[in-house]
Amino acid sequence: MAGPMGTDIPRWANVVVLPIVNLIAAFLVSGLVVLIIGENPLEVVQILIWGAFGFEEAIGYTLFYATNFIFTGLAVSIAFHCMLFNIGGEGQAYIGGLGITLVGLHFGFLPPIVLIPLCVIGAALFGAAWAFIPAYLQAKRGSHIVITTIMFNFIASSVMVYLLVNVLIQPGSMQPESREFGEAAIPFVHEALAWLGVEFAESPWNLSFLWALVCCVLVWGYVWHTRWGYEMRTVGTSPTAAAYAGISETKSIIVTMCISGALAGFLGLNEIMGYHHRLLLHFSGGYGFVGIAVALMGRSHPVGVCLAAILFGALYQGGAELSFEIPTITRELVIVIQGLVIIFAGALEFMFKPQVEAVFRWFMPRRSAAAPAE
């Protein structure tokens, strides 16, 4: 967007300060909404923070949600690097969960050390498959990926309901859910800590979190340190340069989207293999969409994605405690905040740039005499 301006502002101003300013703006407007519904924003903030980090279980929940957001946030951001807008994280996550379920139902008897890698593969394959079709259509037929991935979210939802209601449902059960997979599951963090002799409150936080962190490192390496990542970024920034360099745009688009879909598919590891241990209707619960906000907040960098994911995890968990403490505040307040964060951190990304730069110039020795007169 804004060209590589030869300004004298340090890079971290735009990479770190600007998102924080945007976030503050989003929270201020959210505070306004809280005022409108007649509550005290300061009290709300207090409860939010306490509810998200105030006690061990809260931290567990916060990080449990954060795990979801890391997966979907990474999925969206890796696609961004190829200039693809993957709005289909939701559907890919949902179908990825189907992959895990099939593994869980058929191989539930295997020891975790074998089963869990199988689940990872299942999730990745199914998630990638669901991303493959829109990617193929974009690359080969020029169908706008934003539209096709939106459509695929709806289709995924229908497919999964059909399967749950007619195929996967436990015979005799009234619930459209699969049966439980059995004993094998991804261990909870409190269990793992217990093995080490550390006591930690029980929560759904499980070791998928570690896999999420590993994925961050893998994505970071892939994007900036492999030639595949190099090709992907070239296609994303300059398709003409990619053609000149002999890089296949089609291949890059498809591979990137498949990776993106696989990452989104991992959502099921946390939700299904890590916590519910069976396939639930709508277990993807909007996490795919939040991934967009996370990627934007995190500037599509794994470190940023992690931080943004924790922020959103805290919002989700803190929000639950909030509606617990103040019943007049509905749980949807969190969605409002989420929307505002996307507006300020995404669409109005550079709104405060002049102000931030002005502040920096104020504090910095002047290097260029010809500062623009605006």
């Binding site: 060209g3 590589p4 301006m5 030869g6 300004t7 390496g221 340190h225 492999t226 030639r227 595949w228 190099y230 090709e231 970024r233 070239t234 920034t237 300059s238 003409t240 340069a241 053609a243 000149y244 360099a245 002999g246 890089i247 296949s248 745009e249 089609t250 291949k251 260029s368 010809a370 623009p372 007169a373």
Partner: protein, 512 residues
């Protein structure tokens, strides 16, 4: 009489780039006034300020003696200023008529305005030899006609002062002459004309007065009659200019690149190269001249494997090459061909990448860059630094974002990458477009060196001077065909110009 245009103390910066520095300019009414300057001197910026497209940081504008507050283009239009932009401001999907009335529709409903416009346009077309089919879609018209539409647009709005920004860049010398006739006719009607160019020949041919810009400053004003090309060139670049490149005799050997009856299409499937045959031998530079848009770009794209060849044969070192995406551009590199593309910003480089990343573009899969799938960053950076030293890229910083290098240095980064791997054949498109005179000399020297080292070089350029001074043989392209070949020693501007317009010079001579 007050000057038609008077600019006082115009100043303008874009971020760190100081594009116009305290500019003063007087243009007398009823004259043709030239403004010359190298690429990036600030000519377009100045005119855009006059036209209300940019807002000056400081300075005043007087039109016919009256101070004018120009906030938007509408103010300039109201003051009788019309502008033909360097990059045309036309809507491709609209008809000529729609483009012309845009902004001057004559009423909230189109119907009435359209009928009146037809009449008026017919009159203008006849009066100034500006024939064009007003119901044709702009996208279907060749650039020369699009330019006429731009002129019509300005006249339709009643422009008394007409600014033309590098109007001849897209024209053959003959078309340019036609344009100059039109301009003279306009001048005879009492209109004032400002002509921006960096071609000295044109200044001498048509202007009454000329102003020279260099690096954002107005360095001189002259009456055309009282100056010379040499003086203007020196004013333009700030020192004496070497107009010819020193080079020895070529000693061509075997053919490295053989092209037989090649046809190729552009992205939208239009045939742009129509059965072209030629070869390039080791130890010679072959130049391809032509007005831009006659298939040169598509020829380069096909030869370098970027687009698919639809017919004919390409042999590199005697081996057949079947190009086409996605692999073509990579394959052809393995066969010993390197390519300096015409458009360095969109093709040769990835502007937001750091310089070291751009230094392996196209070669990123080679073993020396990678360990397995992982790019060997320290090694690549070091190599990049070495190439920057060898090609005198400034600043010598492989970690700098490519976009922050100046145009000339960007070009050197591309050249360094392509030449460094010692290819058998080098395709070069517009090697010195937008590059300063010092860098031009450097680049030309490297190309001659390559030739003398026994490499084959195919040069495509729209600058006839460059073609004539570098090439050993010259091919001329027109409408997708190669319409002629002459040894450089026999070429001159007139002959090439005629061939570029698709006219056989011999016929022309007979006619004369």
């Amino acid at each position: 009489m007050a000057p038609a245009i008077k600019l006082v103390g115009i100043d303008k910066s874009f971020g760190a780039v100081h594009a116009n520095k305290d500019i003063n300019l007087n243009v007398s009414a009823g004259s043709v006034h030239g403004i010359i300057g190298e690429n990036g001197a600030g000519k377009s910026t100045l005119m855009s300020i006059l036209y209300g497209f940019y807002k000056a940081d400081a300075g005043d504008i007087f039109v016919n003696g009256e101070k004018l507050n120009i906030h938007a283009s509408q103010d300039a239009i109201d003051a009788g200023i019309g502008m033909v932009h360097q990059h045309f401001m036309l809507v491709d999907t609209f008809s000529v008529l729609e483009n012309i009335i845009l902004g001057a529709e004559g009423g909230a409903l189109l119907r009435k305005g359209v009928d009146k416009a037809r009449e008026e346009l017919n009159r203008l077309e006849r009066e100034y030899e500006l024939e064009v089919d007003i119901d044709a879609l702009i996208g279907d018209l060749p650039v020369g006609l699009q330019q006429r539409v731009e002129i019509l647009k300005a006249l339709y709005r009643g422009a008394q002062i007409l600014v033309l920004d590098e109007p001849t860049g897209v024209l053959t010398p003959q078309e340019a002459d036609h344009l100059f006739r039109i301009l003279n006719a306009l001048k005879d009607q009492g209109k004032t004309i400002i002509l921006i160019t960096h071609k000295l020949r044109e200044i001498m041919a048509i202007t009454d007065a000329v102003s020279v810009m260099r690096q954002g400053e107005m360095v001189a004003h002259r009456e055309t009659a009282k100056t010379s090309t040499e003086e203007l060139a020196e004013l333009m670049v700030g020192r004496k200019v070497l107009l010819r490149v020193e080079k020895g005799e070529a000693s061509p050997a075997h053919a490295v690149l053989e092209v037989e009856n090649l046809t190729a299409t552009d992205k939208s499937g239009v045939v742009r190269v129509k059965g072209v045959s030629f070869n390039v031998r080791a130890g010679e530079i072959v130049g391809i001249a032509g007005v831009s848009g006659n298939g040169q770009s598509d020829l380069l794209a096909a030869l370098s494997g970027i687009t698919k060849v639809t017919g004919g044969k390409i042999l590199i070192n005697g081996k057949p090459f079947v190009g086409g995406p996605p692999q073509g551009a990579a394959d052809v590199r393995h066969m010993g061909l390197a390519h300096v593309p015409e458009d360095r910003q969109r093709m040769g480089l990835v502007i937001p990448f750091e310089a070291w990343e751009c230094s392996i573009l196209g070669y990123h899969n080679e073993d020396e860059c990678c360990r397995g799938p992982v790019i060997d960053r320290p090694k690549v950076i070091q190599e990049s630094l070495r190439k920057m030293e060898a090609f005198d890229v400034r600043p010598q910083d492989p970690n700098l974002v490519t976009g922050n290098f100046s145009g000339g240095n960007q070009q050197k980064i591309v050249l360094a990458r392509e030449i460094d791997r010692d290819p058998d054949i080098l395709l070069v498109g517009q090697p010195t477009r937008g590059v300063d005179i010092g860098a031009i000399e450097f680049i030309h020297k490297r190309l001659i060196e390559m030739r003398d080292a026994g490499k084959a070089v195919l040069l495509v350029s729209v600058e006839l001077d460059e073609i004539m001074s570098l090439s050993d043989r010259i091919l001329v392209m027109f409408d997708g065909h190669i319409v002629g070949e002459i040894p450089a020693s026999e070429a001159n501007e007139r002959i090439l110009g005629l061939m570029m317009a698709g006219i056989n010079p011999d016929d022309d001579e007979e006619a004369a």
